[in-house]
Protein backbone atom coordinates (compact mmCIF):
# COMPACT_ATOMS: atom_id res chain seq x y z
CA UNK A 1 0.00 0.00 0.00
CA UNK A 2 2.74 2.43 0.97
CA UNK A 3 4.62 1.73 -2.24
CA UNK A 4 1.44 2.36 -4.21
CA UNK A 5 0.98 5.77 -2.63
CA UNK A 6 4.61 6.63 -3.28
CA UNK A 7 4.23 5.58 -6.89
CA UNK A 8 1.15 7.76 -7.34
CA UNK A 9 2.84 10.78 -5.83
CA UNK A 10 5.85 10.20 -8.05
CA UNK A 11 3.62 10.07 -11.10
CA UNK A 12 1.91 13.31 -10.14
CA UNK A 13 5.25 14.96 -9.58
CA UNK A 14 6.41 13.87 -13.02
CA UNK A 15 3.28 15.37 -14.50
CA UNK A 16 3.83 18.67 -12.74
CA UNK A 17 7.51 18.67 -13.68
CA UNK A 18 6.79 18.10 -17.34
CA UNK A 19 4.09 20.72 -17.38
CA UNK A 20 6.41 23.25 -15.82
CA UNK A 21 9.05 22.41 -18.36
CA UNK A 22 7.09 24.06 -21.15
CA UNK A 23 8.34 27.57 -21.81
CA UNK A 24 6.51 30.29 -23.65
CA UNK A 25 7.67 30.98 -27.20
CA UNK A 26 6.68 34.01 -29.17
CA UNK A 27 8.18 32.96 -32.46
CA UNK A 28 5.89 30.48 -34.07
CA UNK A 29 7.49 30.72 -37.52
CA UNK A 30 10.90 29.64 -36.26
CA UNK A 31 9.34 26.78 -34.29
CA UNK A 32 7.36 25.59 -37.28
CA UNK A 33 10.37 25.70 -39.56
CA UNK A 34 12.43 23.81 -36.99
CA UNK A 35 9.76 21.13 -36.59
CA UNK A 36 9.32 20.92 -40.35
CA UNK A 37 5.56 20.66 -40.09
CA UNK A 38 2.76 23.14 -39.49
CA UNK A 39 -0.27 21.88 -37.60
CA UNK A 40 -3.47 23.45 -38.86
CA UNK A 41 -6.86 22.93 -37.28
CA UNK A 42 -9.64 22.52 -39.83
CA UNK A 43 -13.21 21.27 -39.85
CA UNK A 44 -13.77 17.76 -41.14
CA UNK A 45 -17.57 17.65 -41.14
CA UNK A 46 -18.57 20.82 -42.96
CA UNK A 47 -18.74 20.37 -46.71
CA UNK A 48 -17.29 22.07 -48.77
CA UNK A 49 -15.11 24.00 -46.29
CA UNK A 50 -13.63 20.88 -44.72
CA UNK A 51 -14.67 17.27 -45.25
CA UNK A 52 -13.08 13.85 -45.64
CA UNK A 53 -12.42 11.64 -48.64
CA UNK A 54 -12.59 7.82 -48.56
CA UNK A 55 -8.99 7.51 -47.44
CA UNK A 56 -9.73 9.61 -44.39
CA UNK A 57 -7.73 12.63 -45.52
CA UNK A 58 -9.31 16.04 -45.00
CA UNK A 59 -10.02 18.03 -48.16
CA UNK A 60 -11.91 21.20 -48.97
CA UNK A 61 -11.53 24.95 -49.33
CA UNK A 62 -9.88 25.49 -45.97
CA UNK A 63 -7.47 22.53 -46.14
CA UNK A 64 -6.35 23.86 -49.51
CA UNK A 65 -5.63 27.26 -47.97
CA UNK A 66 -3.73 25.51 -45.17
CA UNK A 67 -1.62 23.63 -47.71
CA UNK A 68 -0.70 26.92 -49.35
CA UNK A 69 0.48 28.36 -46.05
CA UNK A 70 2.63 25.29 -45.51
CA UNK A 71 4.07 25.53 -49.01
CA UNK A 72 4.97 29.19 -48.46
CA UNK A 73 6.78 28.32 -45.23
CA UNK A 74 8.45 25.37 -46.87
CA UNK A 75 7.15 22.80 -44.40
CA UNK A 76 4.77 19.87 -44.43
CA UNK A 77 1.18 20.33 -43.33
CA UNK A 78 -0.65 18.29 -40.70
CA UNK A 79 -4.40 18.79 -40.77
CA UNK A 80 -6.01 18.24 -37.40
CA UNK A 81 -9.80 17.92 -37.30
CA UNK A 82 -11.41 20.31 -34.83
CA UNK A 83 -14.89 20.99 -33.54
CA UNK A 84 -16.47 24.35 -32.74
CA UNK A 85 -16.19 23.45 -29.08
CA UNK A 86 -12.46 22.81 -29.04
CA UNK A 87 -10.89 24.82 -31.88
CA UNK A 88 -9.89 27.82 -29.77
CA UNK A 89 -8.74 25.64 -26.91
CA UNK A 90 -6.42 23.65 -29.19
CA UNK A 91 -4.88 26.91 -30.36
CA UNK A 92 -4.38 28.13 -26.82
CA UNK A 93 -2.80 24.84 -25.73
CA UNK A 94 -0.45 24.87 -28.66
CA UNK A 95 -1.83 21.71 -30.17
CA UNK A 96 -2.33 23.58 -33.45
CA UNK A 97 -0.35 26.53 -34.79
CA UNK A 98 -3.02 27.95 -37.09
CA UNK A 99 -6.77 27.61 -37.14
CA UNK A 100 -8.83 27.83 -40.31
CA UNK A 101 -12.14 26.35 -39.17
CA UNK A 102 -15.17 28.31 -40.37
CA UNK A 103 -15.02 30.48 -37.26
CA UNK A 104 -17.10 33.65 -37.24
CA UNK A 105 -15.15 36.71 -36.19
CA UNK A 106 -16.58 38.22 -33.00
CA UNK A 107 -15.19 40.64 -30.42
CA UNK A 108 -15.52 37.97 -27.72
CA UNK A 109 -13.39 35.55 -29.67
CA UNK A 110 -10.74 38.15 -30.35
CA UNK A 111 -10.08 38.20 -26.61
CA UNK A 112 -9.17 34.53 -26.65
CA UNK A 113 -7.28 34.08 -29.91
CA UNK A 114 -5.58 36.41 -32.34
CA UNK A 115 -7.90 36.68 -35.34
CA UNK A 116 -5.97 37.80 -38.38
CA UNK A 117 -7.11 40.80 -40.45
CA UNK A 118 -8.32 41.05 -43.16
CA UNK A 119 -11.07 38.45 -42.93
CA UNK A 120 -10.69 35.68 -45.44
CA UNK A 121 -14.35 34.76 -45.87
CA UNK A 122 -17.89 35.61 -44.91
CA UNK A 123 -21.38 34.19 -45.03
CA UNK A 124 -24.85 35.21 -44.00
CA UNK A 125 -27.79 33.43 -42.45
CA UNK A 126 -30.89 32.31 -44.30
CA UNK A 127 -33.37 29.46 -44.29
CA UNK A 128 -34.30 26.54 -46.48
CA UNK A 129 -38.07 26.02 -46.50
CA UNK A 130 -40.82 24.46 -48.55
CA UNK A 131 -42.22 26.85 -51.15
CA UNK A 132 -45.77 26.07 -50.04
CA UNK A 133 -45.24 27.69 -46.64
CA UNK A 134 -44.64 31.02 -48.33
CA UNK A 135 -42.41 32.60 -45.71
CA UNK A 136 -41.67 36.20 -46.57
CA UNK A 137 -40.02 37.66 -43.52
CA UNK A 138 -38.14 36.32 -40.48
CA UNK A 139 -41.11 37.11 -38.24
CA UNK A 140 -43.06 34.38 -40.06
CA UNK A 141 -40.98 31.80 -38.21
CA UNK A 142 -42.41 32.70 -34.81
CA UNK A 143 -43.41 29.64 -32.73
CA UNK A 144 -42.57 27.24 -35.52
CA UNK A 145 -40.00 24.45 -35.23
CA UNK A 146 -36.92 25.37 -37.23
CA UNK A 147 -34.04 22.95 -37.69
CA UNK A 148 -30.46 23.99 -37.15
CA UNK A 149 -26.99 22.59 -36.59
CA UNK A 150 -25.93 22.26 -32.97
CA UNK A 151 -23.42 24.93 -32.06
CA UNK A 152 -24.23 27.39 -34.86
CA UNK A 153 -24.06 30.91 -33.52
CA UNK A 154 -27.18 32.12 -35.36
CA UNK A 155 -29.47 29.63 -33.59
CA UNK A 156 -29.67 31.89 -30.57
CA UNK A 157 -30.55 35.05 -32.49
CA UNK A 158 -33.13 33.22 -34.60
CA UNK A 159 -34.89 31.94 -31.51
CA UNK A 160 -34.41 35.00 -29.33
CA UNK A 161 -35.21 37.73 -31.87
CA UNK A 162 -37.73 35.95 -34.06
CA UNK A 163 -39.26 33.48 -31.61
CA UNK A 164 -38.56 30.37 -33.65
CA UNK A 165 -38.28 27.04 -31.81
CA UNK A 166 -34.86 25.78 -32.76
CA UNK A 167 -34.49 22.02 -33.12
CA UNK A 168 -30.76 21.47 -33.45
CA UNK A 169 -29.13 18.28 -34.71
CA UNK A 170 -25.55 17.15 -34.89
CA UNK A 171 -25.09 17.00 -38.64
CA UNK A 172 -26.62 18.06 -41.93
CA UNK A 173 -27.87 14.54 -42.82
CA UNK A 174 -30.03 14.44 -39.69
CA UNK A 175 -31.36 17.92 -40.40
CA UNK A 176 -32.35 17.14 -43.98
CA UNK A 177 -34.03 13.94 -42.82
CA UNK A 178 -36.01 15.84 -40.17
CA UNK A 179 -36.91 18.52 -42.73
CA UNK A 180 -38.21 15.94 -45.18
CA UNK A 181 -40.09 14.17 -42.38
CA UNK A 182 -41.86 17.36 -41.45
CA UNK A 183 -40.47 17.57 -37.94
CA UNK A 184 -39.49 21.17 -38.73
CA UNK A 185 -40.65 23.73 -41.26
CA UNK A 186 -37.28 25.26 -42.19
CA UNK A 187 -33.53 24.92 -41.79
CA UNK A 188 -31.52 27.92 -40.68
CA UNK A 189 -28.02 27.74 -42.17
CA UNK A 190 -25.31 29.57 -44.12
CA UNK A 191 -26.72 31.07 -47.28
CA UNK A 192 -23.92 29.77 -49.48
CA UNK A 193 -24.72 26.18 -48.56
CA UNK A 194 -28.49 26.67 -48.93
CA UNK A 195 -28.16 28.10 -52.42
CA UNK A 196 -26.20 25.03 -53.47
CA UNK A 197 -28.86 22.76 -51.93
CA UNK A 198 -31.79 24.34 -53.76
CA UNK A 199 -30.21 23.43 -57.09
CA UNK A 200 -30.44 19.71 -56.25
CA UNK A 201 -33.41 17.86 -57.81
CA UNK A 202 -34.31 16.33 -54.45
CA UNK A 203 -34.96 19.78 -53.06
CA UNK A 204 -36.87 21.27 -55.99
CA UNK A 205 -39.80 22.12 -53.69
CA UNK A 206 -37.58 24.14 -51.41
CA UNK A 207 -36.48 27.72 -51.64
CA UNK A 208 -34.42 30.32 -49.81
CA UNK A 209 -37.07 33.02 -49.41
CA UNK A 210 -35.91 35.38 -46.69
CA UNK A 211 -33.50 38.31 -46.84
CA UNK A 212 -30.03 37.22 -45.75
CA UNK A 213 -29.10 38.64 -42.38
CA UNK A 214 -26.10 38.61 -40.10
CA UNK A 215 -23.54 38.69 -42.83
CA UNK A 216 -20.63 37.95 -40.55
CA UNK A 217 -17.05 37.60 -41.69
CA UNK A 218 -15.07 34.53 -40.77
CA UNK A 219 -11.65 34.80 -39.20
CA UNK A 220 -8.69 32.50 -39.16
CA UNK A 221 -6.66 32.66 -36.00
CA UNK A 222 -3.27 32.16 -34.44
CA UNK A 223 -2.28 32.03 -30.79
CA UNK A 224 -2.46 35.29 -28.84
CA UNK A 225 0.92 36.97 -28.84
CA UNK A 226 2.18 35.54 -32.13
CA UNK A 227 2.34 38.90 -33.87
CA UNK A 228 5.04 38.05 -36.39
CA UNK A 229 3.19 34.94 -37.50
CA UNK A 230 -0.06 36.91 -37.68
CA UNK A 231 1.56 39.45 -39.97
CA UNK A 232 2.82 36.67 -42.22
CA UNK A 233 -0.68 35.15 -42.46
CA UNK A 234 -2.22 38.55 -43.02
CA UNK A 235 0.00 39.08 -46.04
CA UNK A 236 -1.04 35.68 -47.35
CA UNK A 237 -4.73 36.55 -47.00
CA UNK A 238 -4.22 39.78 -48.91
CA UNK A 239 -2.46 37.76 -51.57
CA UNK A 240 -5.40 35.35 -51.79
CA UNK A 241 -7.89 38.14 -52.24
CA UNK A 242 -5.67 39.87 -54.76
CA UNK A 243 -5.26 36.82 -56.94
CA UNK A 244 -8.88 35.78 -56.62
CA UNK A 245 -7.85 32.48 -55.04
CA UNK A 246 -10.88 32.45 -52.74
CA UNK A 247 -13.23 32.89 -55.70
CA UNK A 248 -11.43 30.13 -57.59
CA UNK A 249 -11.67 27.74 -54.64
CA UNK A 250 -15.38 28.49 -54.25
CA UNK A 251 -15.99 27.62 -57.87
CA UNK A 252 -13.86 24.52 -57.60
CA UNK A 253 -15.93 23.18 -54.70
CA UNK A 254 -19.28 24.13 -56.18
CA UNK A 255 -20.15 27.16 -54.08
CA UNK A 256 -21.64 30.21 -55.79
CA UNK A 257 -19.25 33.13 -55.46
CA UNK A 258 -20.21 35.03 -52.32
CA UNK A 259 -20.53 38.82 -52.48
CA UNK A 260 -17.90 39.23 -49.71
CA UNK A 261 -15.25 37.33 -51.65
CA UNK A 262 -16.02 39.36 -54.76
CA UNK A 263 -15.85 42.62 -52.83
CA UNK A 264 -12.52 41.73 -51.24
CA UNK A 265 -11.10 40.73 -54.60
CA UNK A 266 -12.13 44.10 -56.02
CA UNK A 267 -10.66 45.89 -53.02
CA UNK A 268 -7.21 44.34 -53.24
CA UNK A 269 -6.91 43.96 -57.02
Amino acid sequence: MKSLIKGLLGGLALLAFSAAGQTVHADAIADIKKAGVIKVGVKADYKPYGFIDPSGAIVGIEPDLAKEVAAKLGVKVELIPVLSSNRMQFLEQGKIDLMIATMTDTAERRKVVHIVDPNYYSSGTNILALKKFGFKKWEDLRDKPVCGIQGAFYNKSTSEKYGAKIVAFKGTAEVYAALKQGSCVAFVYDDSAIVAKTTEPDFADYEMPLPTIDDAPWGLAVKLGEDKFAKFISDMIVGWHKSGRILALETQYGVTNTPFAKAMHDKYK
Binding site: S84, S85, N86, M88, Q89, E108, R109, V112, L130, F133, D143, K144, P145, C147, Q150, G151, A152, F153, N155, K156, E160, V167, A168, F169, K170, E174, A177, A178, K180, Q181, G182, S183, V185
Partner: protein, 248 residues
Protein backbone atom coordinates in the same frame (compact mmCIF):
# COMPACT_ATOMS: atom_id res chain seq x y z
CA UNK B 1 -33.16 39.21 -7.85
CA UNK B 2 -31.66 41.22 -10.68
CA UNK B 3 -28.76 42.40 -8.59
CA UNK B 4 -27.95 38.76 -7.82
CA UNK B 5 -27.78 38.06 -11.53
CA UNK B 6 -25.79 41.21 -12.20
CA UNK B 7 -23.15 40.09 -9.72
CA UNK B 8 -22.32 37.22 -12.08
CA UNK B 9 -21.87 39.65 -14.93
CA UNK B 10 -19.36 41.50 -12.80
CA UNK B 11 -17.72 38.18 -11.95
CA UNK B 12 -17.26 37.55 -15.65
CA UNK B 13 -15.74 40.91 -16.32
CA UNK B 14 -13.31 40.70 -13.44
CA UNK B 15 -12.24 37.07 -13.32
CA UNK B 16 -13.28 35.71 -16.70
CA UNK B 17 -15.51 33.03 -15.19
CA UNK B 18 -18.40 33.14 -17.58
CA UNK B 19 -21.76 31.87 -16.30
CA UNK B 20 -24.19 33.28 -18.86
CA UNK B 21 -26.95 30.98 -17.74
CA UNK B 22 -27.23 33.08 -14.59
CA UNK B 23 -26.95 36.66 -15.75
CA UNK B 24 -28.55 36.26 -19.17
CA UNK B 25 -32.29 35.77 -18.80
CA UNK B 26 -32.69 33.91 -22.09
CA UNK B 27 -29.97 31.39 -21.32
CA UNK B 28 -31.26 31.05 -17.79
CA UNK B 29 -34.78 30.15 -18.86
CA UNK B 30 -33.45 27.71 -21.44
CA UNK B 31 -31.27 25.92 -18.93
CA UNK B 32 -34.04 25.68 -16.35
CA UNK B 33 -36.29 24.18 -19.02
CA UNK B 34 -33.49 21.77 -19.89
CA UNK B 35 -33.15 20.74 -16.26
CA UNK B 36 -36.84 19.98 -15.95
CA UNK B 37 -36.82 18.18 -19.26
CA UNK B 38 -34.01 15.93 -18.01
CA UNK B 39 -35.99 15.15 -14.87
CA UNK B 40 -39.10 14.47 -16.92
CA UNK B 41 -37.19 12.22 -19.31
CA UNK B 42 -35.45 10.35 -16.47
CA UNK B 43 -38.58 9.70 -14.46
CA UNK B 44 -40.59 8.54 -17.47
CA UNK B 45 -37.83 6.24 -18.68
CA UNK B 46 -37.21 4.84 -15.18
CA UNK B 47 -40.85 3.96 -14.84
CA UNK B 48 -41.26 2.34 -18.24
CA UNK B 49 -37.96 0.50 -18.21
CA UNK B 50 -38.71 -1.10 -14.83
CA UNK B 51 -42.11 -2.24 -16.10
CA UNK B 52 -40.52 -3.61 -19.28
CA UNK B 53 -37.94 -5.39 -17.11
CA UNK B 54 -40.55 -7.04 -14.93
CA UNK B 55 -42.76 -8.07 -17.84
CA UNK B 56 -39.79 -9.31 -19.85
CA UNK B 57 -38.47 -11.41 -16.98
CA UNK B 58 -41.88 -13.01 -16.58
CA UNK B 59 -42.19 -13.70 -20.31
CA UNK B 60 -38.78 -15.33 -20.26
CA UNK B 61 -40.17 -18.07 -18.04
CA UNK B 62 -43.14 -18.66 -20.32
CA UNK B 63 -43.77 -22.21 -21.55
CA UNK B 64 -44.31 -20.91 -25.10
CA UNK B 65 -41.18 -21.30 -27.22
CA UNK B 66 -41.75 -18.25 -29.41
CA UNK B 67 -42.43 -15.88 -26.53
CA UNK B 68 -39.10 -16.80 -25.01
CA UNK B 69 -37.35 -16.46 -28.36
CA UNK B 70 -38.76 -13.02 -29.06
CA UNK B 71 -37.88 -11.73 -25.61
CA UNK B 72 -34.34 -13.09 -25.86
CA UNK B 73 -33.92 -11.69 -29.35
CA UNK B 74 -35.04 -8.26 -28.10
CA UNK B 75 -32.61 -8.40 -25.19
CA UNK B 76 -29.65 -9.43 -27.33
CA UNK B 77 -30.38 -6.75 -29.92
CA UNK B 78 -30.79 -3.89 -27.47
CA UNK B 79 -27.93 -4.85 -25.21
CA UNK B 80 -25.35 -5.28 -27.92
CA UNK B 81 -25.89 -2.11 -29.90
CA UNK B 82 -25.16 1.50 -28.92
CA UNK B 83 -28.19 3.38 -27.58
CA UNK B 84 -27.24 6.43 -29.64
CA UNK B 85 -27.70 4.51 -32.86
CA UNK B 86 -30.91 2.91 -31.57
CA UNK B 87 -32.22 6.41 -30.90
CA UNK B 88 -31.41 7.49 -34.46
CA UNK B 89 -33.12 4.44 -35.84
CA UNK B 90 -36.30 4.96 -33.88
CA UNK B 91 -36.55 8.64 -34.69
CA UNK B 92 -35.47 8.75 -38.31
CA UNK B 93 -36.16 5.32 -39.77
CA UNK B 94 -39.28 4.23 -37.89
CA UNK B 95 -40.53 7.76 -37.22
CA UNK B 96 -40.72 8.57 -40.92
CA UNK B 97 -42.88 5.51 -41.54
CA UNK B 98 -45.58 6.58 -39.12
CA UNK B 99 -48.72 8.45 -40.26
CA UNK B 100 -48.55 12.22 -40.22
CA UNK B 101 -50.79 14.72 -38.48
CA UNK B 102 -51.43 18.24 -39.66
CA UNK B 103 -50.16 20.95 -37.39
CA UNK B 104 -51.66 24.34 -36.68
CA UNK B 105 -49.24 26.15 -38.96
CA UNK B 106 -50.31 24.19 -42.02
CA UNK B 107 -47.48 21.71 -42.06
CA UNK B 108 -47.40 17.96 -41.55
CA UNK B 109 -45.50 16.47 -38.68
CA UNK B 110 -44.96 12.84 -37.73
CA UNK B 111 -47.27 11.41 -35.09
CA UNK B 112 -44.67 10.97 -32.36
CA UNK B 113 -42.33 13.83 -31.55
CA UNK B 114 -38.71 13.51 -30.50
CA UNK B 115 -39.49 13.36 -26.75
CA UNK B 116 -41.77 10.36 -27.28
CA UNK B 117 -39.17 8.57 -29.37
CA UNK B 118 -36.47 9.30 -26.79
CA UNK B 119 -38.63 7.78 -24.07
CA UNK B 120 -39.45 4.72 -26.18
CA UNK B 121 -35.88 4.11 -27.26
CA UNK B 122 -34.27 4.68 -23.85
CA UNK B 123 -36.93 2.65 -22.01
CA UNK B 124 -36.40 -0.30 -24.31
CA UNK B 125 -32.64 0.06 -23.94
CA UNK B 126 -32.69 0.15 -20.14
CA UNK B 127 -35.50 -2.41 -20.11
CA UNK B 128 -33.27 -4.95 -21.85
CA UNK B 129 -30.73 -4.65 -19.04
CA UNK B 130 -33.50 -4.74 -16.44
CA UNK B 131 -34.83 -8.03 -17.83
CA UNK B 132 -31.43 -9.61 -17.24
CA UNK B 133 -31.25 -8.12 -13.77
CA UNK B 134 -34.70 -9.36 -12.83
CA UNK B 135 -33.88 -12.76 -14.29
CA UNK B 136 -30.83 -13.11 -12.05
CA UNK B 137 -33.00 -12.05 -9.14
CA UNK B 138 -35.65 -14.61 -10.00
CA UNK B 139 -33.00 -17.32 -10.17
CA UNK B 140 -31.79 -16.30 -6.72
CA UNK B 141 -35.17 -17.16 -5.25
CA UNK B 142 -34.78 -20.65 -3.78
CA UNK B 143 -36.55 -23.30 -5.84
CA UNK B 144 -37.99 -24.80 -2.70
CA UNK B 145 -39.98 -21.61 -2.08
CA UNK B 146 -41.48 -21.73 -5.57
CA UNK B 147 -42.26 -25.43 -5.27
CA UNK B 148 -43.93 -24.83 -1.95
CA UNK B 149 -46.09 -22.17 -3.57
CA UNK B 150 -46.96 -24.49 -6.44
CA UNK B 151 -47.97 -27.17 -4.01
CA UNK B 152 -50.27 -24.66 -2.32
CA UNK B 153 -52.10 -24.11 -5.59
CA UNK B 154 -50.77 -20.67 -6.64
CA UNK B 155 -51.09 -19.97 -10.38
CA UNK B 156 -47.95 -19.02 -12.34
CA UNK B 157 -48.89 -15.34 -12.36
CA UNK B 158 -49.67 -15.37 -8.64
CA UNK B 159 -46.33 -16.97 -7.83
CA UNK B 160 -44.56 -14.34 -9.90
CA UNK B 161 -46.48 -11.44 -8.48
CA UNK B 162 -46.68 -12.36 -4.79
CA UNK B 163 -43.63 -14.51 -4.11
CA UNK B 164 -40.88 -14.43 -6.72
CA UNK B 165 -40.95 -10.73 -7.59
CA UNK B 166 -40.85 -9.35 -4.03
CA UNK B 167 -37.94 -11.65 -3.10
CA UNK B 168 -36.14 -11.06 -6.38
CA UNK B 169 -36.53 -7.31 -6.00
CA UNK B 170 -34.72 -7.30 -2.68
CA UNK B 171 -31.86 -9.33 -4.08
CA UNK B 172 -31.38 -7.24 -7.21
CA UNK B 173 -31.87 -3.81 -5.66
CA UNK B 174 -28.16 -2.88 -5.80
CA UNK B 175 -27.88 -3.88 -9.47
CA UNK B 176 -31.16 -2.17 -10.29
CA UNK B 177 -29.95 0.94 -8.50
CA UNK B 178 -26.81 0.88 -10.63
CA UNK B 179 -28.78 0.48 -13.81
CA UNK B 180 -31.21 3.26 -13.00
CA UNK B 181 -28.37 5.64 -12.20
CA UNK B 182 -26.86 4.81 -15.58
CA UNK B 183 -30.23 5.46 -17.18
CA UNK B 184 -30.36 8.98 -15.77
CA UNK B 185 -26.96 9.66 -17.24
CA UNK B 186 -27.90 7.99 -20.53
CA UNK B 187 -30.74 10.47 -20.99
CA UNK B 188 -28.05 12.87 -22.19
CA UNK B 189 -28.06 10.91 -25.44
CA UNK B 190 -31.45 12.40 -26.27
CA UNK B 191 -29.55 15.55 -27.31
CA UNK B 192 -28.78 13.76 -30.58
CA UNK B 193 -32.43 13.93 -31.65
CA UNK B 194 -32.77 17.50 -30.42
CA UNK B 195 -34.68 16.84 -27.20
CA UNK B 196 -34.04 20.06 -25.27
CA UNK B 197 -32.59 18.44 -22.18
CA UNK B 198 -29.63 19.71 -20.14
CA UNK B 199 -26.75 18.61 -22.33
CA UNK B 200 -28.42 20.06 -25.42
CA UNK B 201 -28.99 23.45 -23.81
CA UNK B 202 -25.52 23.46 -22.27
CA UNK B 203 -24.04 22.65 -25.67
CA UNK B 204 -25.87 25.63 -27.18
CA UNK B 205 -24.73 27.94 -24.39
CA UNK B 206 -21.09 26.94 -24.63
CA UNK B 207 -21.18 27.28 -28.41
CA UNK B 208 -22.50 30.81 -28.10
CA UNK B 209 -20.23 31.91 -25.27
CA UNK B 210 -17.19 29.64 -25.57
CA UNK B 211 -17.14 28.78 -21.87
CA UNK B 212 -16.93 25.02 -22.21
CA UNK B 213 -15.15 24.50 -18.87
CA UNK B 214 -17.68 26.40 -16.80
CA UNK B 215 -20.59 24.65 -18.49
CA UNK B 216 -19.02 21.24 -18.02
CA UNK B 217 -18.51 21.91 -14.32
CA UNK B 218 -22.10 23.00 -14.08
CA UNK B 219 -23.23 19.81 -15.83
CA UNK B 220 -21.14 17.78 -13.42
CA UNK B 221 -22.74 19.45 -10.40
CA UNK B 222 -26.24 19.25 -11.83
CA UNK B 223 -25.98 15.54 -12.53
CA UNK B 224 -24.35 14.97 -9.16
CA UNK B 225 -27.37 16.53 -7.62
CA UNK B 226 -29.85 14.51 -9.67
CA UNK B 227 -28.04 11.24 -9.25
CA UNK B 228 -27.38 11.97 -5.61
CA UNK B 229 -31.09 12.36 -4.95
CA UNK B 230 -31.81 9.12 -6.79
CA UNK B 231 -29.05 7.17 -5.02
CA UNK B 232 -30.13 8.50 -1.63
CA UNK B 233 -33.71 7.44 -2.30
CA UNK B 234 -32.64 4.00 -3.52
CA UNK B 235 -30.34 3.50 -0.52
CA UNK B 236 -33.18 4.34 1.84
CA UNK B 237 -35.34 1.84 0.00
CA UNK B 238 -32.56 -0.77 0.11
CA UNK B 239 -32.20 -0.33 3.84
CA UNK B 240 -35.94 -0.71 4.35
CA UNK B 241 -36.05 -3.91 2.32
CA UNK B 242 -32.94 -5.60 3.71
CA UNK B 243 -33.11 -9.38 4.22
CA UNK B 244 -31.33 -10.37 7.42
CA UNK B 245 -28.56 -12.93 7.11
CA UNK B 246 -26.94 -11.65 3.91
CA UNK B 247 -23.81 -9.53 3.64
CA UNK B 248 -21.81 -8.54 6.69
Amino acid sequence: MDSFYQWFQVLYETTGINLPFIYDSYDRSRLINGFFMTIQLSVTCLFFSTIIGMIGAWLQGSPLKWTRRIVNGYIQLFRNTPPLVQLYFFYFAIGSMLPKVTTDYGGEAPLLGNFAWAVISLSFFAGAFNVEIFRSGIEAVPKSTVEAAESLGFSRLQIYKDITLPLALRVVLPSLNNNLVNLVKTTTLAYAIAVPEMLYETNQIWSDNVNVTEMMIFLLLAYFFLVGVLVWGMNRWEQAMKIPGYGE
